[in-house]
């Protein structure tokens, strides 16, 4: 993909000589970047706090102070091939599932502006989900250090490979942008394993009325997780009760449905924003409901803010599993082990509340310093959004996280 980047850049430089007649100097190629340098400290030594379930580690058990939670660097090259055709490549380096900072291609797409208000894109495209989902990695554009882990964590995937179409119209003071997307993607997870998302399709509508904005999203996809398949195959070997469990919790080509609604009101001197999202995966990943509400006041270059967020599961966190006592004695140890495996999968759902306070200081027009304190309450039997849970972890114990971040764009 680096090669693709070089080719795009090379082509762009080669063609940038022919300025279009009658138009002002237009940079045919533009480069923009963003980044965050941050450290977090968490007072939990049996698990890690981090910003996404797709990361390798975070602050807490692995390291009391960690720079891996929010630090990242992103770069974007935009090439205006013609007034209608634009190519965009965005690369991001941040801690990945494998503990490396190897840059990933976040986006690489071609956009064709059919009319000034209708465009189509093909390639790797931002996945439309929540209000700030498309720029969730550009911390500078967020009032807080990171998007709430409870709500945005419901869909940790940020892009998909496919096509989308966007149409915008306005009238009577209402601006409406509707987007239809089709795609697929796959994500590697820690410890080996791939989550495949196929047949992804959905609609997202963004409405602006004065200082208010709203986004409504509906997405559907086929989810497939390879790592848990052997466990459910073993359940199936136990006949009807095992097959029933496998059908209910297996994540093999299950249909997942996602709905979200977000509103924001931002007259400039202050802002409030609230979002709701729910996902139903028809698998051990569960049916999750989440919301958050946040507000801030802009006082010169200072913006103090407050957030409350919540995620709950509307599906089973416990299941009796196979009826061990009813099985022939030689089968019982294996059945007990499978039941324990199922329990730990069900407990991997996220149930948590958190409260966040912070202060943003805009030190430059293109840079901000943030200090943020989060108090998380993971709800037993889950460990909430914590990862790398170690033996001795006490479910339900609140976790305090302190983060210092420096965000910039260029």
């Amino acid at each position: 993909m680096w090669r693709a980047l070089v080719v795009v850049a090379g082509l762009a430089v080669a063609t940038s000589g022919d300025a279009r007649a009658g138009e002002p100097d237009r940079h045919d190629v533009s480069f923009s970047g963003f980044g965050t340098l941050a450290v977090s400290r968490a007072n939990e030594d049996r698990a890690d706090f981090t910003s996404s379930l797709l990361k390798y580690s975070g602050a807490g058990g692995s390291r009391r102070w960690s720079g891996d939670v929010d630090s990242r660097l992103g770069g974007q090259v935009t090439w205006h091939a013609t007034p209608q055709l634009t190519a965009v490549v965005q690369m991001i380096a941040e801690q990945r599932f494998d503990n490396s900072y190897t840059p990933i291609v976040e986006w690489a797409n071609l956009k064709y502006q059919v009319t000034p208000d209708f465009s189509i894109r093909a390639g790797r495209i931002a996945l439309p989900t929540f209000l700030a989902a498309d720029y969730r990695k550009v911390s500078f554009a967020l009032p807080w250090v990171r998007t709430p882990v409870e709500t945005y964590g419901v869909v940790p995937i940020t892009n998909s490979d496919g096509i989308d179409a966007t149409y915008r119209w306005h009238g009577n003071g209402i601006k409406n942008t509707i987007q239809a997307a089709f795609g697929r993607t796959k994500v590697k997870i820690k410890g080996g394993g791939i989550v495949r998302i196929d047949d992804l399709h959905g609609l997202s509508d963004y409405i602006e009325v004065g200082h208010a904005s709203m986004r409504l999203t509906w997405l559907q996809a086929d989810i497939d997780i390879d790592r848990t398949r052997p466990l459910f195959d073993a359940f199936r070997a136990f006949g009807a009760p095992g097959e029933d469990i496998a059908r209910r919790y297996d994540a093999t080509h299950k249909k997942a449905e996602f709905l979200a609604a977000g509103v924001s009101y931002d007259p400039g001197a202050w802002f409030v924003t609230a979002e709701y999202g729910r996902i139903d995966t028809h698998s051990f990943l569960g049916r999750q409901h989440s919301w958050y509400a946040g507000a801030g006041i802009r006082h010169g270059s200072l913006t103090p803010y407050l957030l409350r967020s919540h995620i709950a599961s509307r599906s089973n966190l416990h299941d009796p599993g196979l009826p061990v006592a009813a099985l022939p004695p030689p089968w019982q140890p294996a059945a007990r082990e499978l039941n324990a495996g199922l329990a730990s999968l069900l407990h991997s759902q996220v149930v948590q509340d958190s409260t966040t306070i912070g202060l943003r200081w805009d030190v430059l027009p293109t840079a901000a310093l943030k200090i943020q304190y989060d108090r998380l309450r993971p709800r037993p039997p889950t460990a909430g959004s914590l990862i790398n849970v170690r033996p001795g972890y006490q479910p339900g114990r609140p976790v305090s996280v302190l983060t210092l971040a420096f965000d910039f764009v260029f």
């Binding site: 002002p24 000034p116 805009d362």
Partner: protein
């Protein structure tokens, strides 16, 4: 009424009056060939914030910015969009990094903007009223 209160009221009164007297008048212009006669503040804000790609009649529009650092630029955005330079930067960060748009092209000072706007009905710009000549027409006066 105590002295501090009187002083603060005097200060506020001066603060409200001084910039208006000292500032140049910002006007929004299109080419004289453009059939458009008037735009609202909201329509101008939408065009310059990249929220629309067309004039109200549906024809394509390309906004032109004054180059960063010219005082008229800050005054224009404050009056047309109510956004400070900080909020404007955050707005464009969102637009750029979502692939939804890029800031208007920078075209220089009031005279440079007027020259370009005069050349094509596609362009729209903002200039000091003193830079206006018959090659362009004023569609909005920002007060």
């Amino acid at each position: 009424m105590n002295a501090a209160r009187i002083l603060s009221m005097l200060f506020l009164a001066c603060a409200a009056w001084l910039p208006a007297a000292a500032a140049a008048e910002v006007v929004v212009i299109v080419s004289a060939q453009n059939p458009l006669t008037v735009l609202s503040v909201e329509q101008v804000a939408d065009i310059f914030l990249g929220k629309t790609g067309t004039f109200p009649d549906g024809s394509a529009v390309t906004p032109l910015d004054q180059t960063d650092g010219y005082p008229l630029r800050q005054e224009f955005y404050q009056k047309a969009t109510g956004k400070s330079i900080q909020l404007l930067k955050a707005h464009w960060s969102k637009m750029i990094f979502t692939g939804r748009g890029e800031p208007p092209r920078e075209a220089g000072d009031s005279h440079a903007v007027r020259r370009l706007v005069a050349g094509s009905p596609r362009f729209i710009g903002y200039v000091d009223r003193s830079a206006v000549d018959p090659s362009v027409k004023i569609v909005l006066v920002l007060k």
